[in-house]
């Protein structure tokens, strides 16, 4: 017998549940088992990650320290040794706790073999053409005369803006110049305040000059005051 139910009629109550294939119906799993599965898996994963983190941390920190030491050596023209001073409460000091060492802004003071100060190295970061450009800058605090700079991190346009890092004729002209600097274009720089920008990387070159000017403006008085106090 077939009967066509009118559309408006309520559907007949199903007499028996629709049979589902055995393979599709998964057995009911208790919430506790789900919790236990995820808990155990999470704990095992956490242990593994912590173990590898602890195993690799010394190597990763050693690379970072090596890189930093290499940069200091380069921008201070190979000092015999250097001290690290930290900016705490508006003045530079050597005496800080181990925790503060990781967070406070700091400068490196270079000395030659006879113990005479050769200059200070600082890091500074400001926007370039695309993203932040991170520089390490070496200069003589008393005169503001640059010793050199090194690009630690940049994401400028490959082939154009990244010449601030790769073009040695751009980087080398900063040694001996005195901040504040101006960038000149299309002619040889005249005087000790001018440097020539890179063709095709004018904005990135100007960003480098701006970062150096701002950093020296900010750090010079602090470093001079620190030296006047006799390095306390």
């Amino acid at each position: 017998m077939t009967s066509v139910a009118p559309h408006c009629a309520p559907p007949a109550a199903p007499t028996e549940p629709v049979a589902t294939p055995e393979s599709v119906k998964a057995p009911e799993v208790s919430s506790w088992r789900l919790l236990a599965t995820l808990g155990i898996a999470g704990a095992a994963a956490g242990l593994l990650v912590v173990a590898v983190y602890r195993a690799t941390l010394p190597t990763i920190e050693r690379y970072a320290a090596q890189k930093e030491a290499g940069a200091v050596r380069e921008v201070l023209a190979a000092p015999a040794r250097w001290d690290t001073v930290y900016l705490a409460k508006g003045a530079l000091t050597k005496r800080v706790t181990a925790d503060e060492r990781k967070t406070l802004p700091h400068a490196y003071l270079g000395f030659d073999a006879s113990g005479k100060p050769t200059g200070a190295a600082i890091t500074a970061q400001e926007p370039g053409f695309q993203e932040e450009v991170l520089l390490m800058i070496g200069f003589e605090p008393a005169s503001g005369r640059l010793i050199g700079f090194k690009v630690l991190d940049q994401k400028e346009t490959p082939g154009l803006g990244d010449k601030i890092e790769r073009d040695s004729s751009f980087g080398s002209q900063f040694a001996g110049r005195i901040a504040p600097l101006t960038g000149v274009k299309g002619r040889a720089p005249a005087g000790e305040h001018e440097v020539q920008t890179i063709t095709g990387a004018t904005i990135s070159s100007r960003a480098v000059i701006r970062i150096i000017d701002h950093a020296i403006e900010q750090w010079q008085p602090l470093l001079v005051a620190y030296e006047r106090r006799g390095g306390a």
Binding site: S23, V24, A26, R33, L34, L38, A45, T56, K67
Partner: protein, 238 residues
């Protein structure tokens, strides 16, 4: 008059199809058909290549293939995660409840991604820095979750390993090819060694993002063209 009796006209006997062979006790619906191990591996490199055929993992494919070292490193890191997560997903497939399987797969994948990130930072700091956030982002690569759900969760650990290795190699080869083309034309070098000589004017365009789209388009076109040629040859033979 013929005495032969015509055979009675009977309807063809309906033979019910043979009942399906009893599934193995651990049969899982949708599990891949059995295949030799070399086929499991070869599939990811050739006709189910993650980048050139399945179009998975396009984000790292575009982002890190500007120089060859980055492309290879990204491919190998992804292979490590594919093999590791495939193995563990397969080993624990009977203990992971259906309701929490995606969470569990992501947990396993994320663990291997973190390991890959730490090991890369400890062994190749320069490459690790160049790849930046794209190593942690392997977690979000559809390729990983796709292989865990579609393959590793339904086969034994050996087949899962073979598949992870094949998919990883396919990914690495695609990224290597892309980054080789882009580095050669965009910088005139391969793996950092000058190849094109000092008079080569680099096509800066190729190491910029548009060059990535352009190169991928060319590679996809080549793959589609070769597939079409082979299809025609098969039809001509048949």
């Amino acid at each position: 008059m013929s005495t032969t009796v015509a055979p009675p006209r009977t309807a063809p006997v309906y033979e019910p199809p043979a009942p399906p062979a009893t599934p193995a006790p651990d049969f899982i619906p949708g599990s891949p058909p059995p295949a030799p191990l070399w086929a499991d591996t070869w599939r990811g490199i050739s006709k189910e290549n993650p980048v050139l055929v399945q179009m998975l993992g396009m984000c790292p494919t575009m982002a890190v293939t500007n120089v060859m070292a980055n492309g290879i490193a990204m491919g190998l890191a992804t292979t490590f995660v594919l093999v590791g997560s495939g193995l563990f997903v397969s080993l624990f497939r009977k203990y992971i409840a259906h309701e929490v399987r995606i969470t569990s797969y992501i947990l396993i994948i994320a663990t291997f991604v973190t390991l890959a990130d730490l090991l890369l930072a400890a062994s190749f700091p320069e490459i690790s820095k160049a790849l930046g956030p794209f190593i942690p982002l392997i977690v979000a690569n559809c390729l990983l979750l796709g292989r865990a759900e579609a393959f590793a969760a339904k086969v034994g650990p050996v087949r899962a390993l073979a598949d992870g290795l094949g998919m990883g190699l396919g990914f690495t080869l695609s990224l290597s090819a892309m980054s080789a083309i882009r580095e050669l034309l965009g910088r005139g070098s391969l793996l950092g060694f000058d190849v094109m000589g000092p008079h080569w004017e680099p096509w800066v365009f190729m190491v910029l993002p548009p060059g990535g789209f352009f190169t991928l388009g060319l590679l996809l076109m080549t793959v589609a063209w070769v597939a079409e040629l082979r299809r025609r040859r098969r039809e001509a033979v048949a």
